[in-house]
Symmetry: C2
Subunit: 200 residues, 2 copies
DNA sequence: TCGCATCTTTGCGCGACTCGCAAATTTGGG
DNA sequence: CCCAAATTTGCGAGTCGCGCAAAGATGCGA
């Protein structure tokens, strides 16, 4: 990767990160594209060369991280059982970052994230990113199980079910009554769907 | 429901339907909010009293239909096994309309729908509607299984898994290589997740 | 039946956003 | 060191979302 591409990637990440930071601090509607661009030191117009909306910039971090789950799954030993490999892949790339790494994690930040997550435009973009990443996961599952993502339901179902588990964990973590650590929720959710979701 | 509310609902449906019709015919970007409003005979401004974007108007029909699945589930006999009840509920309210009822179903229409389904803005709104409807389903599942949607993962997982099955069926129907009737795909998908998704 | 309180529609206007285009600037290979 | 290619930037046009207040429609109670 040449200097050119590296710089592009850096700008992309910086813009995405600035979008998240400002949105969490001020609220979605109090951040102008101009502000995000200024924070990174590029022009308003350049922002739109990278992302076609504020929401997309914010969701980009989620997207990048989610896609890495698929990569991680591919690098798992072939003889590892499917659901075990998936669980390990998810935790390797998702749980860490979701928790408190690379992020203040103070009271105000959490509250800001919750507010942000409720904004309609962000929800749409987040789900789009989530779904797009899920397709990458489906492709990896197809590879591992010898199925065909263009003809078989199976890889899409597995990826969809994993995605549903992740979303359910996030949802309960953000909106639920009983405060539980995110990692625990996620492990529980993956365990249940992996076991075939027996009636409780 | 008084005349007032009925009229509102009619306008809402008319706007949503007009949005779909025009978008399928002309393509997402060639339809202005003004056009949709004109088709129904209201002002541009009134459109925005009902929907906050073109995409939302289009997704509203999906949303309404999907929410009815939850209602249908509630009306199923209590002694019906969960997954059987869910499958019946889904088919009662979803499969019919998805197929070819109430809709031209000609070649041009299908092509238009496929194009529309690929548009970024529509995808986001569609997923938002899908997810929102899923929460209604989770509530119904919680009711039926005696779990708590605010504390337990289970109802969200069931709803999420059902949603994933529906999305997988739609996805393969729209983008897959092997042409199969939608109803068959959907039945297959629900059957697999209900059985706990065994390795193929 | 009628009048009034309430809800809905509409026109106006502002600020913001997306994107095409072309000029200016930066980058990397030869 | 220079040039071709990629990237950034400014500008402008066309939409869009929404707050506000006036105008119109509706339904309930007297």
């Amino acid at each position: 990767m040449g200097l050119r591409e590296r710089k592009k990637e850096e700008t992309r990440i910086a813009l995405s990160w600035a979008a998240i930071k400002l949105t969490v601090e001020r609220g979605f509607d109090n951040v102008k594209v101009e502000d995000i661009a200024a924070e990174v030191g590029v022009s308003h117009r350049t922002f739109n060369n990278y992302f076609s909306s504020k929401g997309e910039a914010i969701a980009a971090r989620h997207f990048d991280r989610a896609v890495q789950i698929a990569d991680e799954l591919r690098s798992r030993p072939d003889d590892e059982p499917l659901w075990e490999a998936i669980t390990n892949a998810v935790f390797a790339r998702f749980a860490l970052g979701m928790q408190e790494a690379e992020r203040p994690a103070d009271e105000r930040w959490i509250a800001g994230v919750k507010l942000m997550s409720q904004h309609p435009e962000h929800q749409g973009e987040f789900l789009k990113a989530h779904t797009a990443a899920q397709e990458a996961l489906a492709a990896a599952v197809a590879e591992r199980t010898g199925t065909d993502a263009d003809r078989d339901l199976y890889p899409h179902l597995v990826a969809g079910v994993v995605g549903a588990a992740i979303l359910a964990a996030i949802h309960l973590w953000l909106h639920g009554d009983a405060p539980a650590p995110f990692e625990e929720l996620l492990r529980d959710a993956l365990g249940q769907v992996a076991a075939g979701l027996p009636t409780p």
